[in-house]
Amino acid sequence: MSTILEAHDVCKNYGSVEALKNFNLSVQEGTIFALLGPNGAGKTTFIKSILGLVHIQKGSIQLFGQPHTQREVRRSVGHLPEKFTFYPYYSVRGTLEFFCKLNGLAKALVPEAVLAAALDTHIEDLLDKKLRTLSKGQLQRVGLAAMLVGDKKLLILDEPFSGIDPIGIRDFKKLVVKLRDEKGKTIFLNSHILSEMEQVCDDFAILDKGICLAQGHLTEILGNTSLEEFFYHTVKV
């Protein structure tokens, strides 16, 4: 297994607030990695740093062995924000077609890719609906489908379970596991819903106030303790 994402001594400040302090992390290919932390820990800042949406002051981030600022490596990275937002007057099909084209897919392959992504995310019945008519859970699925159309190797999901009902969460977890097992995708999840994360992730890291407090393989680190207990102990103590 090769390292797909690697961060070395990453520092990011917002004015006088240190969002990330010498943050180190490594994610292996074909795994589900969970970045855990309380609100305001710096999780979303780290994701934005990977995607080049915010600029880090110090350190380096490597994607597939290349600096994260290189455009070509981002072709293999998909991103689902906490709240998937696109133009509300677009249909689901129109949205997926746009993301196909944005990912450089040939025109002839677009209808097939749209249908495949819709089937994977169970939104085939929504294809002709406008985004403004969809619920939060349905929108997140559309976002996930939009992320899948370009044959991405690394999928980055920011708080994917927030605002989704229990059935939606269950389907989402199943899909994430299926993407790892059947399609060999590497999935980077960022969340504070520990119970859900414990069920799906292989590796994890705990981030608090911009500092990485723990990192490793889930079963090796936890032993007989639950993730919630370990998390509470690590962050509180």
Binding site: K48, L51, G52, L53, V54, H55, R71, E72, R74, R75, V77, H79, P81, K83, F84, T85, F86, Y87, Y89, Y90, G94, F98, K101, L102, N103, G104, L105, A146
Partner: protein, 270 residues
């Protein structure tokens, strides 16, 4: 540069305006403006022409063109602001910029899309104006002048869109609209005030107003001059400006404006 990703963003700029029905609304407004201006001018001419108040028949082309040109500037400001600001306000920009496209390419795609929309409106308004004048038997400028006027207005549209988009990344839409309109008016005034002056004349009676005018005149595209040039061409007048230095100035000042814009946009965090 013209990668499939770039093309998708370029067409998306136009598509999002079509799907939000903005284009349709603007098209209806354009048609209404053309109709009412023509009808209004005819009414004024009918009522005042015989009374020797003013020779409006010969001025009709100028008035008509002034309105088209002002509407084009207004549209350029509106679409310039909207082309990037709507992505930022709608929180769509992180999705677009996290893809395999450089930020400057994103800007070029959005600005080109907005340019194509406004220029198309201008061509439609212009063609309709020609049809109106042809039907009513008014004299028209030679076709070469009309084509040159299209080119000159294209320069104005590109400059105004870029300026408005640049301003929009620092403020909300309303503030950006006000600042863009003021900036355009200051530029146009500075152009009129300083056009044709030699270097020594420019520094005579140097004061704050002249200083500001000079900064606008030298560092920003001469949009006011290009606009006047376009009007003069339509009126069939001789062009007094030296075209080559003006084109060179536009090339350099526009590149500078875009470079500053691209740099500021690159530094932004989303």
């Amino acid at each position: 540069m013209f990668t499939p990703e770039w093309n998708s963003l370029f067409f998306n700029t136009i598509q999002k305006e079509i799907r939000s029905r903005t284009l349709l609304v603007m098209f209806v407004i354009t048609i209404l403006i053309m109709f009412f201006v023509n009808a209004g001018l005819d009414l004024i001419i009918e009522n005042f022409e015989g009374k020797n108040v003013i020779d409006l028949t010969s001025q009709k082309v100028v008035v008509f063109y002034f309105i088209i040109s002002s509407w084009t500037v207004l549209l350029s400001v509106l679409f310039g602001i909207d082309c990037i600001k709507s992505d930022i306000e709608g929180q769509v920009i992180p999705l677009l910029l996290s893809g395999p496209i450089a930020r400057w390419q994103f800007l070029v795609a959005r600005l080109s899309g907005a340019f194509l929309i406004v220029f198309s409106y201008y061509v439609i308004s212009f063609t309709m104006a020609i049809i109106f004048f042809k039907i009513s038997g008014n004299p028209l400028a030679p076709i070469s002048n009309m084509l040159a006027a299209l080119g000159a207005t294209g320069v104005v549209i590109l400059g105004v869109i870029t300026l408005a988009a640049f301003i929009s990344i620092f403020s909300n839409k309303l503030v950006a609209f006000i600042i863009s309109m003021i900036a355009y008016l200051v530029m146009a005034t500075a152009n009129t005030y300083l056009a044709g002056s030699g270097i020594s004349q420019m520094f005579q009676n140097f004061g704050l107003f002249k200083g500001i005018s000079l900064v606008f005149y030298w560092l920003l595209p001469h949009l006011g001059l290009w606009n006047s040039m376009s009007t003069n061409l339509i009126m069939g007048k001789e062009i007094e400006l030296s075209l080559f230095p003006e084109l060179l100035h536009f090339g350099v000042s526009f590149t500078l404006l875009f470079a500053v814009f691209a740099l500021a946009f690159k530094k932004q965090e989303f």
